[in-house]
């Protein structure tokens, strides 16, 4: 079971205590601090001012803050016990409101009020209601805010003692009287098996202080000190001058207290039709007043017990200092009762809360404020992940971009090189084109410088060839290949010319052939001439520069005389390419 931490602040008339409980299966008191309030007078405004001062000191000293429940003193709260018929819960509040409006001296709408059923006989219910002035509650709220607390509940001290009594052993079916003697009032609880009756007596430690102050005409602070020194628990009246006064004052207080208590018991008897308490439990620092317990014992003739708070909760005594442990049993009944009530309550609504409804709503709102603030902050920071994401994407893109830029720079450099390369290539192509024309023309021309000599040499080679012996050339001439104009141009351009060569050769008979008659001689000469023709033609055709034999004429008669003088006239038109 998870530990539930409860910070309970008891705003007493003469002290403020802070209790921190852990509500588990058992209630445990974790921390307890208290501080007395010193008052010049007992007005509400001074008390509130003192509360703020003391609470602030306690908070500062013990580093306290946050949500807290506040127990209000009986003097600050108006309580009323009323009987109403037993009705449904939903109608009960309206009936109580109506009854209170009839019985309270203030308009109920002007008050902050709440109630609790304290007795139920099946037909009627006894309802204990409490009310506080809204302005007082407002002031208290402001004070506790300023001290760093967020009030979640204002609950009167009177109702809480009942829870404490109920927690005591052997009290479940017992009629008992519980007295919590406080500073300004005494809370009287008559507990019975069906419920309880509570009354608040306007008598407490301060009543004695006020009596001393009146008698001695001293300030309340001084009177309080005198009270503690002379009329406190175990103290003796040391001041001989005022011994009489103190005795009178004490007697007056005892008488008042006894009368009020007896009246309450009588009233209880009347209400409860003769039932009387069987024992008395006492608590509160007021019981330390000299002779008070003896008075109670003698006047009520009932067994008297100190209230033992350790029946309600556990505590680690080593965590508390000695002074705290001395006062703790007198001061803890109400906070312990509240702790018990919180633990036993099924819902928040079942507890009495005098905190004004508007204030409660405001507090509820304020409770939500941190969450709203957190939500606001989270909403405000909502774009942060997007920013991180987009920043990461931007940095990725930037990186990618810089890589791309670097790549493009390289590619641009390459493209520039390509352009330079291309330009150089174009330039070189132009150079090569023009250079080739230049070189080729010069080369062709250089070939032509000795082309005629070369041809003549070749021609001489033909004549000197043994197969063509006895051949001589009579004429040589060159002329342009005439034919068509187009071929003439082509001929000029292509360095082709026609070489006209004419001459004669002798035709010898083969000495190995026997010639018997003239016909046989002619036949032999024709054969020999044929060989010579072929040889000469082949030789001329074999000249390097000769492209083709355009025309050839062999005359054995007329210009030649083969049969008589054995020579043949020849004429060749050779197509020549000098640069071949």
């Amino acid at each position: 079971m998870a530990k539930k931490r409860e910070l309970i602040i008891n705003l007493g008339s003469s002290h403020i205590s802070v209790s921190i409980f852990f509500l588990e299966e058992k209630i445990s008191l974790q921390e307890f601090f208290f501080q007395d309030i010193e008052l010049e007078n007992f007005s509400e405004s001074e008390w509130l001012a003192s509360v703020e001062q003391v609470l602030a000191e306690l908070c500062k000293k013990n580093k306290l803050s946050g949500a807290a429940r506040f127990i209000l003193p009986g003097s600050l709260v108006l309580s009323k016990t009323i009987r109403i018929p037993k009705v449904e819960e939903s109608k009960k509040r309206k009936i109580v409101e109506y009854e209170l409006s009839q019985k309270l001296p203030f308009a109920i709408k002007d008050l902050s009020w709440d109630f609790s059923t304290i007795d139920d006989d099946g037909i009627e219910e006894e309802v204990l209601s409490f009310a506080i002035k809204p302005e007082t509650a407002q002031k208290l709220c402001q004070i506790v805010y300023r001290c760093g607390f967020l009030p979640t509940q204002f609950i009167p001290a009177a109702i809480l003692d009942h829870e404490s009594v109920c927690s005591l052993p052997n009290t479940a079916n017992q009629e008992c009287l519980f007295l919590n003697v406080g500073a300004k009032s005494t809370n009287v609880i008559f507990k019975n098996p069906n419920g309880f009756l509570t009354r608040t007596l306007s008598l407490g430690g301060i009543t004695l202080t006020e009596l001393i102050s009146e008698k001695l005409a001293t300030s309340l602070i001084k009177s309080e000190r005198l009270k503690l020194d002379n009329l406190g628990e175990g103290a003796n009246i040391n001041d001989a001058n005022n011994e009489q006064i103190f005795s009178e004052v004490l007697q007056t207080f005892h008488n008042k207290f006894a009368q009020e208590l007896t009246r309450s018991v009588v009233t209880y008897k009347r209400i409860k039709k003769g039932k009387t308490p069987q024992c008395i439990y006492v608590t509160g620092r007021g019981v330390k007043t000299k002779g008070l317990l003896n008075l109670l014992a003698s006047s009520q003739r009932l067994p008297l017990h100190y209230f033992n708070p350790y029946e309600l909760f556990s505590l680690d005594t080593e965590s508390f200092d000695e002074e705290t442990l001395v006062d703790l049993p007198y001061l803890i009944s109400e906070p312990a009762g509240l702790a018990k009530q919180i633990k036993n309550s099924t819902s928040h609504e079942s507890l009495i809360n005098l905190l004004p409804k508007s204030k409660v709503r405001e507090i509820e709102k304020k409770k939500k404020l941190p969450w709203l603030a957190l939500t606001g902050l989270l909403t405000a920071l909502l774009p942060v992940p997007w920013l991180f994401q987009i920043n990461s994407e931007i940095s990725f893109l930037n990186k990618h971009l810089s890589e791309k830029k670097s790549e493009i720079k390289k590619l641009e450099s390459l493209a520039q090189k390509n352009k330079e390369c291309s330009d150089e290539l174009l330039s070189l192509q132009q150079l090569n084109k023009h250079s080739s024309g230049f070189v080729n023309i010069l080369h062709e021309n250089s070939e032509k410088t000795s082309c005629v000599q070369d041809f003549l040499n070749s021609l001489q080679g033909v004549v000197d060839n043994p197969d063509n012996k006895n051949t001589w050339i009579d004429t040589v001439s060159f002329y342009a290949a005439k034919q068509t104009p187009s071929s003439l141009n082509a001929s000029l351009k292509s360095n082709k010319v026609i070489a006209n060569i004419s001459g004669r050769y002798l035709v010898a008979l083969d000495p190995n052939i026997e010639i018997k008659d003239i016909n046989q001689k002619h036949m032999a000469l024709i054969d020999s001439n044929g060989h010579k023709q072929e040889s000469l033609t082949n030789s001329l055709n074999g000249i390097k520069q000769v492209v083709s034999v355009v025309n050839k004429v062999f005359s054995t008669e007329g210009k030649g005389d083969l049969y008589n003088r054995q020579f043949t006239y020849f004429e060749f038109d050779l197509e020549i390419d000098f640069v071949k």
Binding site: A380, F438, H443, S446, T449, N564
Partner: protein, 339 residues
């Protein structure tokens, strides 16, 4: 509550600021995306261009190699033509700028000198219009032969200096041709010179050149038919044997180039032998004993010679005429030796 509202206000401010920042970043992000898209497109373009890098380099290497080859060949050609031009011995280049009158004197002296030398070598001068005949030999010897300058034998028109100098160059070239001609014949031979013709040296010369103007053979193109070369063409017509022609041709050296030759039999001596057969007897016939058919083997040779006077064979200058940029770079030693 005030604190709460302040807090909420702060939260709203923070939220607004963060949202503004976010949208600003978002805008930056979108800008970056857009930039990236543009850059990606650019990168794609450039990548596709870079694919051709290797091909370009390959082509460039081929083009460079080709260029180195052409450059080398052009140097070879340049060297060839420079050596062909033979500037140190080329008359055209060694011609000092002389006055017209001094050239007249020089020409007159040259003609006299050539005539004397021809006389020494028993040269017969026969007019080209006349049929060369051994019977005219004595008469022709005495005729005034002007070696292509008949128009200026005792006459000298008013020449521009340039034209006169060009005539002077021609005269010196003709002197060399005559020397070659004379050297083509042995001492005992009696050469016959028909004519020497030349090109007109200018407008004035064209008026007076008369029959000395050369008729160019249309068959074989001249070397100067290409624009890089310039030349002067001369024609010499003489009678001789094959050996004389061979000797003449063998003496032709650069910057001369033989451009045409016309061989004709000497009409006066081309009669065939009356002998029935060129073979002495059938019995003794053998290849070695065959006799020539024609006893007089003289021929008339008409030779055209081209004398190269200019050779503009510098590739750099040639390419400059095309307005090619950055030529110095391509001709630089660094570039040429880059290979």
């Amino acid at each position: 509550m005030k604190l709460f509202y302040t807090w909420i206000g702060i939260c709203v401010v923070i939220l607004t600021a963060l949202l503004i920042l976010y949208f600003s970043k978002k805008s930056d992000y979108e800008d970056l995306l857009s930039d990236l898209k543009i850059l990606s497109g650019k990168e794609e373009d450039l990548s596709s261009q870079s694919v051709v890098h290797d091909l370009l380099n390959h082509d460039l290497n081929i083009a460079k190699n080709e260029w180195f080859n052409w450059n080398k060949l052009s140097k070879n050609q340049s060297n060839f033509w420079r050596s062909y031009l033979d500037e140190s011995n080329n008359i055209y280049f060694n011609q000092s700028n002389k006055s017209s009158s001094s050239i007249n004197t020089e020409l007159t002296r040259l003609i006299s000198q050539l005539l004397r030398e021809c006389e020494k070598s028993n040269v017969n001068f026969i007019s080209e219009n006349n049929t060369p005949s051994p019977f005219l030999e004595t008469d022709q010897k005495t005729s005034g032969f002007s070696f292509g300058f008949s128009g200026y034998d005792g006459f000298w028109p008013s020449f521009e200096k340039e034209e006169a100098n060009r005539i002077s160059v021609q005269s010196k070239i003709i002197k060399q041709i005559v020397e070659i001609f004379l050297n083509s014949f042995k001492h005992h031979e009696s050469p016959t010179l028909y004519s020497i013709t030349r090109e007109a040296a200018g407008q004035i010369d064209r008026k007076y050149i008369n029959d000395d103007l050369i008729t160019l053979n249309t068959g074989i193109s001249l070397l100067r038919s290409v624009k890089f070369l310039d030349s002067q063409v001369f024609e010499i017509s003489f009678m001789g044997k094959t050996d004389n022609l061979r000797s003449f041709i063998n003496q032709i050296r650069a910057p001369f180039s033989l451009r045409s030759i016309l061989v004709n039999r000497d009409g006066t001596t081309s009669e065939l032998s009356e002998q029935a057969s060129f073979f002495a007897s059938k019995e003794t016939t053998s290849d070695q004993n065959i006799l020539p058919i024609i006893r007089n083997i003289d021929s008339i040779f008409i030779i055209q010679l081209e004398y190269i006077t200019e050779a503009n064979v510098d590739l750099f200058k040639y390419l400059s005429s095309y307005g090619q940029n950055d030529l110095e770079r391509f001709f630089s030693e660094d570039y040429i030796t880059l290979k």
